[in-house]
């Protein structure tokens, strides 16, 4: 009741500030105080991103009417209770915020406005995280530590400023090493250990000067690209924070001179090769374009000037007219010049455009080719759903963004900058006073706009929240619609959210609409027209200006406002393109399969396979498979069984080098010789170990091409024989164009049919070793028995490893390996395994019990 009342009051007052009431306060150390607040209006169920913070309005100790704005990080927000804590550094000298915190007791209240642009958004899968800061940054670092996955490497370097600081609780993270340094501006920068920081991500926050130095050190000494350092200045030594100055994130800081701090070890001695970040790939990608784009920019600048020149000529024409010097002899050349310039500009434009398109076509083509080439070199295990999405992103969306940048954005931005600049320069030479006045509407615009933007940060957050809710509600509504209709529910929920969103937009935008128009009108031509004529009249009448000098202003000055604001929009696609290049770069930098030693060929003959002490994990310290010892004797069938998540499919993929083992080795056994699969030429290996999965891939092409994929030169007789053996021949002959029918166009194959086709394909490829994963769970019960017969034909005399989900399908296997949590826990024949107590018998009996 109380909370709701409060919220309604707040809303009614139109305030975006939230009142927070102290519940409790504890000094965690001498100089570090945690205060828990009740803040129901602020912590109201929306998502709180990691390390987000509020603007706290701390009362001025002297003048209670004044408040100071200070940034503080949310700690343990609890949406259910509407409670949140803040940790306050009680520094000396104290400022308004720390003084308030030092004296705060339960029942006290303080205002805060919500602010959450401080998001923790690291790039994908960095090698590790470097988190650095002083006590004020500990709340944020704690927040970050609690969301980092447990298996990643983290280095935390904290600066102790007061004696008790080292006791400030730091959130536990299994992969984190925590170091402390002493006080002083350069201490953090000096504390960065020398090591290979390739692909690490740094998050740093501390005192302004310390951050400046730290960032420069990370960048220049340790090689961190600026894009991989997230830095924030939290406060300034010897200076109270000023209003709205607390973020202090100034991108130009990098140019500040730095004195290289003394490091524990010189970095060079440790690093043989310079460190490298995946995000660099994108910049290198764009580097090849750089001079071309620069040249295009210069050309575009010339074109823009040529397009402006006729207007200057027109002004000249007007001047002559007024001076009475005009007759057809003087006018005609002017008109011809105008025509000539326009024509020339059009011609150059054409040239520029043709050239840029040629550059783009080339660049895009090379880009796509290198993505394709890259794909062919990545380990097969890389091709997960998520990575498939990144391929999509790269070749579909990001390539498009780069295309847009090359062909449109660059000329647009250049034109957008050159035109107003040239205009204003020219007008200054005509009449500086009047030209100066042209900035008035711009100032008015900026003023009105700033006024309008006040409090917009909170509104934007709220709006983003509504958009998200509306999206979610619409999705949920539409997805549930069939259910809702079947069970007679209603659409009240979605209506409520959509109406809420509409009401929010109305409440937010309506009062602003008037101001918004005012801002827009200020920079539109009529405003400039009025300004120019009024000021011009005044100056002419007072004799300060020649009447003819007004003409250039009337010709060129009225569009000044719209031109200058248009530039702002041009930069968005440029930034998007840079991000796109970064993403593509990251893809192109993904680690490849090590082929350095993969040279050997194989002599034909029957083959076996041997797993020796094999271990594997996607990330260090997080093994997926451990101590796998397994022998697949030539011509035998081995089954992998076990609960889901035991690692069966991962293990089955290793012989094909989907991933390389991280421990031990997998060897091909040919008679007496054993060869590590990593030593074998990848092409040879891939022909040796074949895979048939339940999830069948058909390529776009004819049925014949699909079957003869591995041997395009296979004869019709061979293909038909394989199709017959796989029980798919009949279905194919029934198709409109037989073996030449195109998959997906002439013929739609059911799940079972596609499976049989893939079996025919495997028969043509004829690999000595065969891995079947999930192949015995059937997509299509109606043709189950046909698939079964086809599989029987395929297995023949091969060495087979099968991942089995139904135990009874592998009762006759030569060997059954039972897996649990990444290890093989039992091995043997069905009979032997049934004879002993253990997982296998349990699984079998569980299956029996369920069906009976």
């Amino acid at each position: 009741m109380g909370a709701r009342f409060q919220r309604t009051m707040m809303k009614a007052l139109g305030a975006t500030d939230h009142v927070m009431t102290v519940i409790s306060a504890t000094n965690l150390t001498l100089g570090f105080r945690r205060i828990r607040f009740s803040a129901p209006t602020m912590i109201d169920g929306r998502e709180t991103p990691t390390a987000s913070y509020v603007r706290l309005w701390a009362p001025d100790p002297e003048d209670p009417a004044k408040v100071h704005q200070r940034g503080y990080t949310l700690v343990d927000p609890d949406a259910a209770t509407g409670e949140v804590s803040f940790d306050f550094v009680l520094h000396e000298p104290m400022g308004p915020a720390s003084a308030w915190a030092a004296a705060a007791k339960p029942g006290d209240t303080i205002n805060a406005s919500y602010y959450m642009f401080q998001k923790f958004e690291p790039p994908e899968n960095p090698e590790g995280y470097l988190l650095m800061g002083d006590p004020a940054a500990i709340p944020a670092i704690n927040g970050i530590l609690s969301v980092l996955p447990s298996e990643v490497a983290v280095i935390v370097i904290l600066q102790a400023q007061l004696p008790g600081d080292r006791d400030i609780p730091v959130t536990f993270h299994p992969g984190a090493q925590v170091f402390w340094t002493g006080d002083g501006t350069g201490a953090l920068a000096a504390a960065v250990p020398a090591r290979d920081w390739s692909n690490w991500y740094a998050w740093v926050a501390a005192e302004h000067a310390a951050i400046k130095e730290l960032r420069a050190t990370l960048n220049r000494v340790h090689g961190f690209p600026l894009a991989d350092i997230r830095h924030t200045a939290y406060w300034m030594r010897g200076k109270a924070m000023r209003l709205r100055k607390e973020t202090g994130r100034d991108e130009t800081e990098t140019t500040a001179p730095v004195t290289a701090p003394a490091l524990p070890q010189p970095a060079e001695t440790l690093q043989k090769t310079p460190p490298r970040w995946r995000s660099q790939g994108g910049q290198e990608l764009l580097a090849s374009l750089r001079w071309k784009l620069r040249a295009a920019g210069v050309l575009q600048a010339v074109i823009s000037l040529m397009q402006l020149a006729p207007l200057v000529l027109l002004a000249e024409l007007g001047r002559r007219l007024l001076a009475g010097e005009a007759n057809s002899e003087t006018l005609t050349p002017l008109i011809f010049w105008t025509l000539g310039l326009f024509g020339g500009a059009a011609l150059l434009s054409t040239v520029l455009m043709v050239w840029l398109h040629a550059v783009d076509a080339r660049f895009g083509h090379d880009l796509r080719r290198s993505v394709v080439a890259k794909l062919a070199r990545l380990p097969l295990g890389w091709f997960t759903d998520r990575n498939a999405a990144s391929v999509h992103q790269a070749v579909q969306e990001d390539a498009g963004r780069l295309h847009y940048m090359v062909t449109h954005a660059v000329p647009d931005v250049v034109a957008g900058i050159v035109t107003p600049l040239a205009v204003i320069t020219y007008l200054f030479t005509v009449d500086a006073a009047l030209a100066g006045l042209l900035f008035l509407p711009l100032l008015a615009f900026v003023g009105l706009f700033a006024h309008m933007m006040r409090g917009v940060a909170d509104k934007l957050v709220e709006y983003a929240d509504w958009t998200k809710r509306a999206n979610a509600a619409a999705s949920a509504f539409i997805e549930a619609l069939p259910v809702v209709r079947v069970f007679g529910g209603n659409a009240d929920a979605v209506r409520k959210v959509l109406n809420g969103q509409a009401a929010f937009l109305n409440g937010w935008q309506r009062p602003m609409a008037g101001r918004k128009v005012a801002a827009q009108l200020a920079i539109q031509p009529p405003a400039f027209l009025l300004l120019i004529t009024a000021a011009g009249c005044w100056r002419i009448l007072s004799g300060a200006m020649l009447p003819a000098d007004l003409l250039p202003f009337l010709f060129l000055g009225t569009a000044f406002g719209t031109q200058i604001t248009a530039v702002m929009y041009g930069f968005v696609p440029m930034r998007e393109a840079r991000q796109a290049a970064n993403r593509i770069g990251t893809l192109l930098e993904a680690p490849e399969l090590d082929r350095s030693r993969s040279l050997r060929a194989l002599s034909p003959g029957s083959l076996g396979l041997r797993f020796q002490k094999v271990g594997f994990g996607y990330r260090p310290r997080k093994p997926v498979l451990q101590d796998i010892d397994l022998i697949l004797a030539p011509g035998t069938l081995t089954a992998l069984v076990g609960p889901s998540g035991a690692g069966k499919s991962t293990l089955a993929g290793l012989p094909g080098r989907f991933h390389d083992v991280t421990e031990g080795a997998i060897r091909l056994v040919a008679g007496e010789t054993e060869i590590d699969i990593r030593d074998i030429n990848p092409q040879v290996l891939q022909r040796t170990v074949g895979f048939v999965f339940q999830d069948v891939r058909l390529i776009k092409g004819t049925l014949r091409e699909n079957i003869a994929l591995s041997r395009p030169d296979a004869s019709q007789a061979e293909i038909e024989a394989a199709a017959c053996a796989a029980h798919i021949h009949q279905r194919i002959t029934e198709a409109p164009r037989g073996y030449d029918s195109i998959v997906g166009e002439d013929i739609q194959l059911s799940g079972g049919e596609a499976q049989r086709l893939s079996i025919a394909r495997a028969l043509i490829a004829d690999p000595p070793i065969l891995v079947l994963d999930e192949a015995t769970a059937f997509a299509d019960p109606e043709s189950e028995h046909l698939v079964q017969q086809a599989l029987g034909a395929l297995i023949g005399k091969r060495t087979v490893l099968v991942v089995a989900h139904r135990l009874h399908t592998v009762v006759h296997a030569d060997r059954i390996a039972v897996m649990d949590r990444g290890r093989i826990v039992q091995q043997g024949t069905h009979a032997a395994l049934m004879a002993e107590p253990g997982l296998y018998r349990d699984l079998w009996q569980a299956g029996e019990r369920k069906t009976s």
Binding site: R510, L551, R697, I699, A765, E784
Partner: protein, 569 residues
């Protein structure tokens, strides 16, 4: 047109005054431009003071224009807001009336985009674009007409130029769009091939085919490159057309003025002033060309929304019917989907209180039969009767009250497991729904996910196909309607799922049941079997009779029996 279709009927009359005010605003802007003629005339004369009253006129018209435009924006806001609220309501209402079968994945995406994306976008552009764009569109014409009175030859030139310029703008825009669409199509093809290449890596490497050369991928990449250059034929005129038209118009009109001056029909000051007016005449066209992309995307958003509203809704009878004995009858039912026949004259009866199984190869139309009973679609020809009446004679609620439904692509909505089940009968007691859930083996899922309130994920993502079906069975058990329609899952089958299906069939033993059966245990439970093939019922009867007849069903039955006991090697 589009605009009035977007608006709720009660707001439509407000469009005319809006348009009138737009014209007035354009007239005011034109006035301010034209007042330059006497103003500059005076200023450049020997008596510059004469300019002051005209300056007053200019100031007054600009100020009046500001006020009016401000008013117009607020008006546009009101209209946009009315549009947004009514459009939300119309869309939701319409979606509730569409045939359920319409909601395939693609359509769902469409509907989501319209509902959560297009409507706010339309609102935003009605606020930000409408006024500016409509004034910019009207202004050249008002100015041209004004010029007729000031210097008629120039006015005539302007009147001729205005439509030409607009035409160039539209044509240029269209060419650009065509170029971009062509390029996008080629890029999409290349991208799709690349993605296919990525997905098929295992296959391609096993086949030793890792080179793009000579494959559809290589061809697509090359095509993309040459397309990238070919689109120039549209891009070039697309971008140049408008700016050339602007420049030609400018030069032409200035030439007209120069000729007038040389002829002595006009004095110098007036000529110069008119050049300024000519520039003012061209300005709004520039504005339009800048707004053009935004206008285009608004139009596209409007198109999407209206297209959704154009999808025909399912007719609902005004008067409800009373259901009789719970049986189901198909009378010569035909059904086509997108022109391809799926069912070709199906006739059968599912007697009340008996279990009937639909059996047959995949793609034969079994699932369609079930979905037609639930009216997910309507038949193309013939009639389906449920409890003695045509399904179309019931209100949706009454029809659904007759049916418990367990379909293959089970629809779960984002929310807890319990919530998803409870929906079947919100007034059921705790004991009742728990019992249903346990009988359908859902308790095992709840346990795995960590509780009954555990989210099932978007569309039931966190659950396997079999698990989703179990939830759906629990729903059916809870609802306990007179007729059960059950489409047995084919994929993701697990033992627990089989148990759940068996339980459902046992519980509904005395209800009317129609089941699409795949497993022989399920088939064995049926009193009556309908064998479906190629959209027809080819055999019907008791199981033993059909087996004895050694027809299609008998072959099917035998091969299924063999498959059941199969083992590798």
């Amino acid at each position: 047109m589009i605009v009035s279709a977007l608006l709720p009927p009660e707001a439509r009359p407000r469009l005319t005054p809006f348009a009138v005010f737009v014209v007035v605003a354009a007239v005011l802007r034109a006035t301010s431009a034209l007042s330059l003629v006497p103003l500059l005339g005076a200023l450049f004369s020997r008596e510059p003071q004469g300019a002051v009253p005209w300056l007053g006129l200019l100031a007054a018209s600009v100020a009046a224009g500001w006020m009016l435009e401000r008013f117009l924006v607020i008006r546009a806001f009101d209209l946009g807001f009315a549009m947004m609220t009514s459009m939300n309501k119309r869309l939701v209402d319409h979606l509730l009336a569409l045939p359920i079968g319409w909601f395939a994945a693609e359509q769902q995406a469409l509907a989501k985009r319209a509902l959560a994306g297009a409507v706010p976008e339309l609102f935003a552009s009605s606020v930000n674009l409408a006024t500016q764009a409509s004034i910019a569109l009207t202004l050249p014409f008002t100015l041209a007409i004004g010029l007729l009175f000031v210097a008629w030859p120039l006015g005539v030139a302007a009147l001729a130029a205005a439509p030409l310029l607009l035409g160039a703008l539209l044509l240029g825009g269209r060419l650009m769009r065509k170029a971009e669409a062509d390029f996008a199509a080629a890029s999409s093809e290349a991208a799709a091939r690349t993605e296919e290449f990525a997905r098929s890596q295992l296959l391609l490497r096993a086949a030793g085919r890792t080179d793009a050369e000579g494959t559809p991928l290589g061809a697509a990449l090359d095509a993309q490159k040459s397309k990238g250059l070919r689109v120039l034929w549209f891009t070039l005129p697309g971008t140049l057309l408008f700016s050339l038209a602007m420049q030609v118009s400018l030069v032409a009109m200035v030439t007209v003025l120069a000729l007038l001056y040389i002829d002595g029909a006009m004095d110098a000051a007036r000529t110069v002033a008119l050049i300024v007016v000519v520039l003012r005449f061209l300005e709004p066209l520039n504005t339009l060309s800048e707004l053009f992309p935004a206008l285009e995307s608004t139009r596209a958003a409007a198109g999407r929304t209206l297209a959704l509203l154009d999808v025909p809704a399912q007719p609902v009878p005004k008067q409800d019917s009373r259901p009789g004995t719970p049986d189901v009858q198909f009378l010569n039912v035909h059904f086509n989907a997108n022109g391809t026949p799926i069912l070709n004259g199906v006739t059968f009866t599912v007697p009340a209180g008996k279990t009937t199984a639909l059996v047959g190869p995949s793609g034969s139309g079994k699932s369609t039969i079930l979905s037609l009973i639930a009216r997910l679609h309507d038949v193309s020809e013939g009639e389906i009767r449920v409890a003695g009446r045509d399904v179309r004679a019931y209100t949706p609620a009454t029809l659904m009250n007759q049916l418990s439904i367990v379909f293959q692509n089970v629809q779960l909505f984002e929310g807890g497991i319990a919530e998803n089940i409870r929906l079947a009968r919100p007034d059921a007691s705790e004991a009742e729904w728990y019992e249903a859930a346990a009988a359908a083996q859902v308790d095992e899922i709840a346990e795995r996910l960590g509780g009954w309130e555990s989210p099932v994920g978007e569309g039931g993502n966190n659950l396997s196909g079999g698990e989703r079906q179990r939830v759906s069975i629990a729903r059916a058990l809870l609802k306990n309607a007179p007729i059960l329609l059950l489409d047995e899952a084919t994929s993701g089958l697990d033992t627990l799922n089989e148990v759940a299906v068996a339980t459902a069939l046992a519980r509904f033993g005395h209800h009317t049941t129609l089941v699409v059966a795949h497993r022989i245990e399920t088939i064995a439970r049926a009193d009556h079997i309908l064998f479906v093939e190629g959209g027809r019922i080819v055999e019907a009867g008791k199981r033993d009779d059909l087996i004895a007849a050694e027809g299609r069903f008998a072959t099917y039955w035998n091969s299924r029996r063999q498959a059941k006991d199969w083992a590798l090697v």
